[in-house]
């Protein structure tokens, strides 16, 4: 079953077309990742799909409802975790959840509250003020807030940006728990590691279009060689020309050379005895695919 479908989606801000003819299908029960450099149009795509921004063209169907015309009805069964926390600073932890429940015309949440607080790792903190919470706690409370209406679809815009590793791992664990419970997740992220760990399927987006879509494993297999050797140090230039002979793809970025290869032994052989060079051999990751498809230029 399709939870979210977009066809030929377009959105323009002034001269710039931020989303230009995007097609998207999200299946029920999957965790779907939307990846892309800054300004690729990820957040705008999410806003369009939620009916928060009006599209300039295209069709959207969210949980069977046409968007934006019936976005309100669709949002009753959707939870949203925004990129920047917008918890209500005038209320405590528990009050934030209760006040938000009213926006969904839900009554008292007293029976749900202990469960939501446990999920957020905030049990015993229900009377804490928002300003007293750490970044990780705020994120988890925002996640609990998004679950207040027991949504079928959860939309998360960069759910772990700005968190320390401990806080990030806890969020990942919670998101996996939600997927196991059968919820559908759509998330955007800059962290390829996050996408590889959580997402069943990812789409790479650039300049308002999807440029690749598939499971992280399939994308790696399709778009890049399985082995990567990163080399730097004095004499890396001399090595670069030798590497070209044994690796099908060699890239130089600053003072580091990346050699991508299906067979790694010949590449490593060229490095033997070269003590002036430091190197790292690792399996190819989604990040390699991402950089290959979107380029290494800075986007800011």
């Amino acid at each position: 079953m399709i939870v979210l479908r977009a066809r030929a989606l377009r959105k323009r801000y002034g001269e710039l077309e931020v989303v230009s003819g995007l097609d998207l299908d999200v299946q029920a029960g999957e965790c779907f990742g939307l990846l892309g450099p800054n300004g690729a149009g990820k957040t705008t795509t999410l806003r369009l799909c939620l009916g928060l921004t009006d599209p300039d063209g295209g069709d959207i169907e969210l949980l069977g409802e046409p968007v934006p015309s019936r976005a309100r009805e669709a949002r009753a069964r959707v939870g949203v975790v925004p990129q920047f926390d917008n918890l209500d600073p005038d209320f405590t932890v528990a009050e934030n959840l209760q006040v938000f429940a009213r926006y969904f015309s839900l009554g008292s949440i007293d029976t749900k509250l202990p469960q939501l607080l446990e999920f957020a790792g905030l049990a015993g903190r229900e009377d804490a003020r928002i300003t007293a919470l750490s970044g990780g706690m705020k994120r988890r409370l925002t996640l609990a807030r998004a679950l207040i209406n027991d949504p079928r679809l959860l939309v998360l815009d960069e759910p772990t940006t700005g968190l320390d590793p401990q806080a990030r791992h806890l969020i990942w664990e919670r998101l996996r728990r939600l997927t196991q419970e059968g919820k559908t997740l759509v998330l955007t992220t800059h962290f390829m590691e996050e996408a590889e760990r959580l997402c069943h399927r990812v789409a790479i987006m650039d300049h308002g279009r999807l440029i690749a879509i598939g499971s992280p494993r399939d994308l790696i297999a399709q778009h890049t060689e399985p082995h990567v050797v990163e080399v730097h140090g004095n004499g890396v230039d001399a090595w670069l020309s030798r590497a070209r002979g044994v690796a099908p793809r060699v890239e130089r970025v600053g003072d580091t050379v990346f050699a991508y290869a299906s067979e790694v032994a010949p590449v490593l052989a060229t490095l033997e005895g070269r003590r002036e060079l430091s190197y790292l051999h690792r399996p190819a990751s989604l990040e390699d695919v991402f950089l290959k498809l979107t380029g290494r230029d800075l986007r800011d």
Binding site: L50, L52, T53, D54, P68, R72, E73, R75, A76, V78, G79, V80, P82, F84, N86, L87, D88, P89, D90, F91, E95, V99, F100, R102, Y103, F104, S105, R145, A146, N149
Partner: protein, 249 residues
């Protein structure tokens, strides 16, 4: 009634900050009323058949209501919309921007009404009201609140930063307060200035409330109410138009 959850949110915050909120909203007009009313009133003969204190109390009731409605819809509203991004969070729920504008307008009018009602209570306690008929000022105060809340919210959804409001405050509200019969009878103004006052909402609020303080029914109730309702309704529609543009463009 989806807007009522937004009204309730603001009410719950207000209840937490009750003391500070009431103090700032009421201390100012009451000090003005007692200070100017007694001080200046001692020097002045009666105006239009009433003491200056009565005259000024009716004006203060309306100007305080206007001030509370404007401050709440502009400064507090902008803080919720822009600073805290509370509106963004509310929009993830099955709520649209129109509901938020409605909730904010009714909330600001409610808070303004409370300012007006408290001043009315002071008027009654000090024995300034000539008859119980003065109670009719309550619905009119709410109407004044609605009119200024709607107009204030237009400013809010158009504002890029806090400075934007000072234009409206300095160039519109302050001169309007001067010419609308709060401090002195508007009828003594030059005709063109009086015409400007009559095109603005505050004048009509004062025209409705002042006779009630001295125990008379206001004349031309229909005209005054219509102007206030028009400001509230048209202001609300304009606020919604610009709010939609700001949020869903």
């Amino acid at each position: 009634m989806r807007w009522s959850s937004i009204w309730l949110r603001n009410f719950l915050v207000w209840r937490k900050l009750f003391v500070a909120s009431v103090l700032t909203n009421l201390a100012d007009p009451l000090i003005m009323l007692l200070g100017l009313g007694y001080g200046l009133g001692a020097l002045l003969p009666s105006i239009a058949g009433m003491s200056y204190l009565q005259f000024f109390a009716a004006g203060t009731l309306c100007s305080a209501t206007m001030m509370t409605a404007s401050f709440e819809s502009m400064f507090s509203g902008f803080s919720r919309m822009h600073g805290q991004k509370t509106w963004d969070a509310i929009l993830y729920a099955p709520i649209v921007i129109d509901d938020i504008v409605a909730g904010e307008v009714v909330w600001a009018a409610s808070k303004a009404w409370l300012s007006g009602a408290t001043i009315l209570a002071v008027v009654a306690v000090f024995g300034l009201a000539a008859s119980p008929i003065v109670i009719l000022a309550l619905p009119f105060a709410f109407l004044v609140g609605l009119a200024f809340a709607s107009v204030g919210l237009i400013m809010t959804v158009l504002a890029k930063n806090w400075d934007f409001f000072s234009f409206y405050m300095t160039l519109v509200m302050t001169p309007m307060t001067m010419i609308s019969g709060v401090f002195f009878p508007a009828e003594q103004l030059p005709r063109p200035v009086l015409a400007v006052a009559q095109a603005l909402p505050l004048y009509h609020g004062v025209e409705l409330v002042r006779p009630l303080v001295v125990g008379r029914l206001p004349g031309q109730i229909g005209v005054h109410v219509t102007v206030l309702v028009a400001y509230a309704a048209v202001g609300y529609a304009i606020a919604i138009y610009f709010a939609r543009r700001r949020f869903s463009a």
